[in-house]
Structure formats: structure tokens, C-alpha cells
């Protein structure tokens, strides 16, 4: 006790001891600001979300919140619009991220040797990522425009049948995916290039001596070496794909025939158009749950948490 008091008193003196104290607790002091900021900023929204999810909240401020227990979650089971949104979100996430990954990795593999020194070119290829998503969405709307759009003009010149793109039931989701792939493939491409740039040389020399084919080298060496960077790239992209909003909001509004209604759009509608924040919170909890389960499983598989 006394010793502790003495130490405290010493540490308050000017000079070395405060530094000593700081030094001893550096591991906590360096982590503290981030943890505190995130706690403050996430604790209120999280508590609110859990609390709202078990209530029916009227837009009328004079009516009390009505406790409904699991009511909002039960509603999820029988809500056809929710099911459609889950399916569309799954399709979008899987197809878009897969395409971005294949294109990004493929380009990186092909170009690694040739443009490694042209960092200028890499920055140019990053430009789509830097545009405001809302401007991207509006630009693609002009490109897809069935009557005046450039895309149909090109189809016409090539003698191909013109399409309605974002206005076609069967092409609408595809159109959204293409716009997303355009904007975010550069992200994966750059992460892959970065990964490739730091691969060790020796194993490849050994493999070449053994006469391994390029394909085998890729499969046995490159892919395993790239695993961590692939994992983080996919994780970040999947997390973002699950919350896709701007593109759908501007390009299709969820139509035609509900084919592009994704979860974010539905949550937005329920919370703001239909003024039902309780149900919106329940859907959001579902999304949060799926995201956490997916990423935990993924990180375990990829041994990323180390």
C-alpha cells in the first residue's frame, strides 16, 4: 500500500517518473484513444439498434414505443420483400466480388512483370476508385441510357442487338455489377500487385529448375504466398458489397420488378419511407449477424487473426 502510494507520488513529480509510468503503460496508452473513440461512437448506435429491434416505434413522437419482443424478427420470416432483398444481395456480393477478384488478380499476374516500374500507370488505373460513387452511378446511367447511351451506340455500330441494360429485367443486376466491378477492380488489382511485388524469388528458381509449369508454380507457390493479401482484400470487398446502396439507388431504385432490391435499399425504405425504425433495426441486426459470422469463419480459415 505504502509502496504504491509512494510510487504514485513519485510519478507526479516532474521529470523521469512520469515518463517511467508512461513507458510502463505505453501498450495501453497507445491503444486507448482508438478503443475509447470506437466505444463512444459504436456503443450508443448498438444499444439503440438492439433496443429498437424489439419495439414497434411510431413516427408519432407522442406515442410510446410498444414492446413487441421477437415480433420484428418473426416478421422477417414471412416478409417476401426481405427474402427478395437477401437473394439479390447474395447474388450481387458473390458475382461482383468474384469478378473483381478474378479480373484484379488476373491483371496483376499478367502485368506484374511489365508495369512494375510504371507506378504512374498504376495511379491512373486507380482513378475509378477515387470518383464519388454518386457521380459514378449517374455516369453509368448516362452510358446505359437505352436511347441515347454510348453503350447502345457501340452495340448498334457492331451490329449487335441494343439492350435496355439497367431497365431490362434480366440485365439490371448485371448492369449494377458491371458498374461496381469497374469502380472496385482497381482496388483488388493494386492489393494483388502489392502482394506480388514482395514475393520471395528463391522458391521460383528452385521450381523452375525442377521444371514445374507456370500453372503449377502459380498454384503451389504464388497462391499460398498471396493468401493473406487475398484474404484481406476479399474481406474488405465483401463487407462493402453487403452494404451496396448508391448504385442501386440512382440506377434502378430497386427495379425493374424488384430484381435489384438489395438489403441496404430495403433497410433505407423501411426506416425512412415507411417510418418503421424498429423493423429496420431487426433487418440490420440480421445483416450484422451474417457479416460477423462470415468474417469470423473466413478469418479462421485464412488464419488472419494472428
Amino acid at each position: 500500500m505504502l509502496k504504491y502510494k509512494g510510487e504514485l507520488a513519485k510519478s507526479l513529480q516532474p521529470g523521469g517518473s512520469l515518463e517511467h509510468w508512461t513507458e510502463r503503460h505505453l501498450r495501453y496508452l497507445m491503444l486507448a484513444p482508438t478503443v475509447l473513440i470506437l466505444l463512444v461512437l459504436t456503443i450508443f448506435p448498438s444499444v439503440y439498434m438492439f433496443y429498437a429491434a424489439v419495439h414497434r416505434i411510431s413516427p408519432n413522437p407522442d406515442l410510446p414505443w410498444e414492446f413487441v419482443g421477437t415480433g420484428n424478427f418473426v416478421r422477417l420470416i414471412s416478409d417476401p420483400q426481405f427474402h427478395v432483398a437477401v437473394r439479390n444481395t447474395a447474388v450481387f456480393t458473390i458475382v461482383a466480388v468474384a469478378l473483381e477478384f478474378v479480373l484484379g488478380l488476373g491483371l496483376a499476374l499478367l502485368l506484374d512483370r511489365y508495369i512494375r516500374r510504371l507506378s504512374f500507370l498504376k495511379t491512373v488505373l486507380m482513378i475509378p476508385m477515387m470518383l464519388p460513387p454518386i457521380a459514378v452511378a449517374i455516369t453509368w446511367k448516362i452510358i446505359y441510357e437505352p436511347q441515347f447511351g454510348v453503350l447502345n451506340e457501340i452495340m448498334f455500330q457492331l451490329g449487335l442487338p441494343v439492350q435496355a441494360w439497367a431497365g431490362d429485367v434480366n440485365l439490371a443486376m448485371f448492369s449494377i455489377i458491371v458498374a461496381d466491378v469497374w469502380q472496385w477492380t482497381p482496388f483488388i488489382f493494386l492489393l494483388m500487385l502489392a502482394g506480388l511485388a514482395s514475393l520471395p524469388v528463391e522458391p521460383y528458381e528452385a521450381a523452375a529448375l525442377d521444371g514445374a509449369s507456370s500453372w503449377r508454380q502459380f498454384w503451389d507457390l504464388t497462391l499460398p504466398f498471396l493468401k493473406p493479401v487475398i484474404a484481406i482484400a476479399l474481406l474488405l470487398r465483401v463487407m462493402d458489397a453487403l452494404r451496396l446502396f448508391d448504385l442501386v439507388f440512382i440506377l434502378t431504385g430497386g427495379g425493374p420488378a424488384d430484381r435489384t432490391k438489395v438489403l441496404s435499399l430495403y433497410i433505407y425504405q423501411v426506416a425512412y419511407r415507411f417510418a418503421d425504425p424498429g423493423y429496420a433495426a431487426a433487418i440490420s441486426l440480421f445483416v450484422l449477424f451474417v457479416t460477423i459470422v462470415l468474417s469470423t469463419w473466413f478469418m479462421k480459415r485464412m488464419r488472419l487473426a494472428e
Binding site: T22, E23, M30, L31, P33, T34, V35, I37, L38, T42, Y48, A52, L107, L111, R113, S119, L121, K122, V124, I127, M130, L131, P132, P133, A135, V136, I138, T139, W140, I142, I143, E145, F148, V150, E153, W182, L190, A194, G195, Y204, A208, F218, L221, T222, P228, A233, M239, L242, R243, I267, A271, P277, A280, S284, V287, S295, T296, M302, L304, A305
Partner: protein, 286 residues
Amino acid sequence: MATIRTRSRGREMLLRLSAYLTILVALILTLFPVYWIAANSFKFDIDIFAVPPEWLPRNPTLKHYDEAFIQRPFLRYALNSFLVAAGTTAISVTFGTMAGYALARFSYPWQWRKQISFWILSTRMMPPIVSIIPLYLFFNYFDMLNTKSALIIAYTAFNLPFATWMMKSYFQDLPVELEEAAIVDGDTRWGAFLHVALPLARPGLAATAIFCLIISWNEFLLSLVITLTEQSQTLPIGIAGRVTQYKTYWGEISAAGFMACVPIVIFAFIVQKHLVRGLSLGAVKG
């Protein structure tokens, strides 16, 4: 990729050619929509929808730039976006770097390191749409609606986890020996971080900063609800405002959208040397 020494000259030539061809195609596909925004921003409305399309503006005009930046407060929006993005990036990168360093270098009792790491990442998984209502209540309570500080605080919540993870993986890749040497030479632990690790991490800082900058410069949903007047409204809100109930002002949107990416592109070119190296070290390990 791997070089196979025994490859014939002709095949090598063919590969090189196809690689350059692919670069060319990728460049065209990447840049065409950007060019199209730029081209449309210089056309009269009627020419934006010409059939067949005008590949080059035939009657170039600065009309839309005048409408957006002189008649409408897009300069003000740009200034707001800049202040908010700079503030968010500064806070996120500073604290994210410290936390990332701590999580990469120090050990903690129990399994804290792993759990805190995952918790930090998981805060980014919350669908932003639903945190809007509580954040609105939060800022309304503290009388901070329609302030840039509210936006900086909200964006920090999304960027800090990202910055922490980027910097954590970056520091994990740096050899620890240099810092140990500095401590042996009499430097403090903090001093070793400040004088040894941080300068080495410069590329990682550049990469993290540009991602934070891009995300907060372009954020739309939160800004929509938190900001009210041009005192705090940001560029994406200004752009969205030109999609009205009756009409979409393509020309103004193109002008504003094109100018919006210019500062980020310039910044990217300034830090590009660091950036590519930063990515090539930082992101490699989880």
C-alpha cells in the same frame, strides 16, 4: 510472375505483346467513363443526348462550371468536403497508427490482442444505414447537427478501424530489430516508435491516408442526414441535389463530379511513390 528461363524468344515476345494489349484495353475501359464525365461537362444539355453520341464536345461550353461553381455553392461544398476529409484522415491515421503499432508489437494479458483486433474490425461491419438514426439523435442531443465536427466524428467511426488494421499489418511486416537496437542505445519505447518505426512506416501511412481520404471525401449517406445547409454540406450532397424530382442536371453533375476527383487524383500522384511501396508491404500480411 515466375520467369521460366527456358522460354523461347518468340513466346516471350508474344506474351509481352499480349500483356501490353491487355494494359491498353484495361486503360481504355478504366478511363472511358471518366473521359465521358469530363466530355459531358463541356457539352450543352442537348448535345449530351445527341444521337449518335458526340465523342468530342462539338460546341464546348463552360456553362455547367459556371452553374455549379459560380451560381451554386459547389466551391463551398468542396471546401467542406476538404476540411471534413482532412480532419477525419488526420484523426484516423494518427490514432490508427498508434493502435496498429500497439497491436502489432505489444503483448496483452489474456487473449486481448486477438479480441480487441477483431472487435475493432467488427465495428466497421455495422450497416451504416441503421446507425444514421442513433447518430442523428446523438448529434441532435449535443446540438451538433449541421456541423463539420459532427461529420468528422461520424466518419472517424468508419475510418479508424480501417486505419488500425492497415497499420497493424504494416508494422507486423517491419523488422523489430531496428527498434530493439534503438532501445539498447538508450531510447525509450515511445522514442523507438517515434524515431525508428514511424519513419519506416511512411509508405504505409501514405496508403492508409489516401484510402481514408477517398472514403471520407466521397461519403454520402451519413452526410445526407447530419448536414443541413451549405455551412456543412459536402460535395456528394451537392451532386445528389442536382437530381431533382423532375429533372437531372447531367451537365452540372458531370462538372462537379469531374472536379471532385481532381484533388484526390493530384494527391494520389504526389504520394504515388510511397503509395505503391506502402501497398506492397502493408497489405501483404493480415
